[in-house]
Structures are given as structure tokens and as C-alpha cells.
């Protein structure tokens, strides 16, 4: 699950990273947002949205994206 601050909500962490990159010579970077990655194995992926809604993300302030793939 990729969890990121909702669009339009001030993300000072993203802003700080966005300011830091040019200082290292990495220009041309914009719209930096810092979120969380929750990695898990699950028997029933149909339960993932509810897990996100109830615990892993706070839908008021965060968007989430479910990315499925084989366990590595």
C-alpha cells in the first residue's frame, strides 16, 4: 500500500525535500510528496481496501494506492 498526503493538504516534508534536491544539483524536480509504504502478505486481497480505510490510512488526510505483486 502506498499512502500519501491528500492533494491540497500542506506537506512540509515534501516541501523540505523539494528544496533539498536542487541544493545537491538535482534540478527540475517539482510536486514532491512524502508518504508511507506498507508492505504485507495477505491471503485475501479483497480485504485490502478495508484495511486501508480502517487502519493503514486516514482517509481524511491521506490517499492510498494498492499495488499487488508476488511476494519477493
Amino acid at each position: 500500500m502506498l499512502i500519501r498526503p491528500k492533494a491540497g493538504i500542506l506537506d512540509p516534508q515534501g516541501q523540505a525535500v523539494e528544496r533539498a534536491l536542487p541544493a545537491l544539483g538535482f534540478g527540475g524536480v517539482s510536486h514532491v510528496h512524502v508518504g508511507r509504504l506498507v508492505e504485507l502478505d495477505v491471503e485475501d486481497p479483497a480485504k485490502l481496501p478495508e484495511m486501508c480505510e480502517r487502519l493503514l490510512a486516514n482517509p481524511l488526510i491521506e490517499d492510498y494506492e494498492i499495488v499487488e505483486g508476488a511476494a519477493t
Partner: protein, 216 residues
Amino acid sequence: MKFGIVRFPGSCDEVDALLAAERVGEAEILWHQDTDLRGVDAVIVPGGFSYGDYLRVGAIARFAPIMGEVERFARRGGLVLGICNGFQVLCEAGLLPGALLPNTSLRFVCRQVELEVVNASIPWTRACERGERLSIPAKHTTGRYYAPDPVLDELEANDQVVLRYAPGENFNGSARDIAGVCNNAGNVLGLMPHPEHAVDALTGSVDGLRLIGAAA
């Protein structure tokens, strides 16, 4: 009047809350694994870093066994006060609107703040006057109050904004200078500053007792 102070693993202000409550009534600690509020008349969810603030502030604490009872108690009209981390927990539990985000400075800030009482008619503020200033310490990294604009409009219309940072005092970037909000019924109050740390003239202010004492 008996206060129950919830203790989670990672709470750190529950003893100060206990001592503050004992100045105005009786008080005891309620363990997070308990499912009995032991007949208390008011519950304080204290500050700290419940469950290490893992995942998101307040996210895990809201599912503690004791919180089911606190929710039932609150929905029946019981008096609940959430301070700092306790405010975050009550927001996560849906007992209060909104959420707390990292301070715009991204820094931990510990300082005395001036608050303005906006609503003096709920049980927790009935000893105050509307417009009165309270001097209470705040200490947090994640205290920027946020709710979508339509929710903020509704809170203002319903008089649910109870405390604001006085002009120039909003150090964390809270929406509309909001320092404390209550639920629609007015029995549940959450605020980021710490009234339990402002109960003795020796440490600079007794204004915290204006809030905690009002409930007693």
C-alpha cells in the same frame, strides 16, 4: 467527581493529568487493556506517544480495548477530555472531527502559548468567559489541526471551535488558529496544549485548572 485517566503504553503525561485532576476531585488511572471505566464521571485521554505513535499518531491507540468503553461513554454524553496525543486519539476514533498533522516547521516545539476561549458554554470551559485568555504550555511535533474547509465552516457555525491560538501564537500552522474543538454535543473536548501542566503558580500558570476544574 471522579476522573479516569487512560494509560497506554507510551503515554507520558498521565501522571500529571492524574495529579491535576486530584486537585479538583478524585482520580485514578485506567489501563488500556481494561474494558471497565470503573464508574468514573469523566475520562481524560492524556498526552504522550501511545503505542510509539507507530503508523500515524493515535492510529493504534484508538483500537485499544479501553477505547471501546470510552467511545460508548462519550456517545452517552460522558465527559471526555483529550490532551495532545489524547486529542489525536479522539480524532482517529471519530469522536472529534478533523486530524492533527505535522507542525509546518516539522520541529518539536515546547513553549507557553496564549489561548483564546471561543466557546465558554461547554462543561470543560464553563468556568471561563468567552474571549478570555489562557496561558498553557504546548509541546508537540504533530499538532497542526486540519479539517476540510466545509467541515471547518460547520465547526464554526456549531460553535465547536472551543479554543484558538491568540493572534501570533499559532506556531504549528493549525487551520483557522484552532487549538481545541468539541463534538457537536459539547461533552468531548480535544486540545493540543496541556492544561494538566498549568496547575501550579510555581510553574507559571494555573489556567489549566480553569478547564479541568470546570468539569468537577
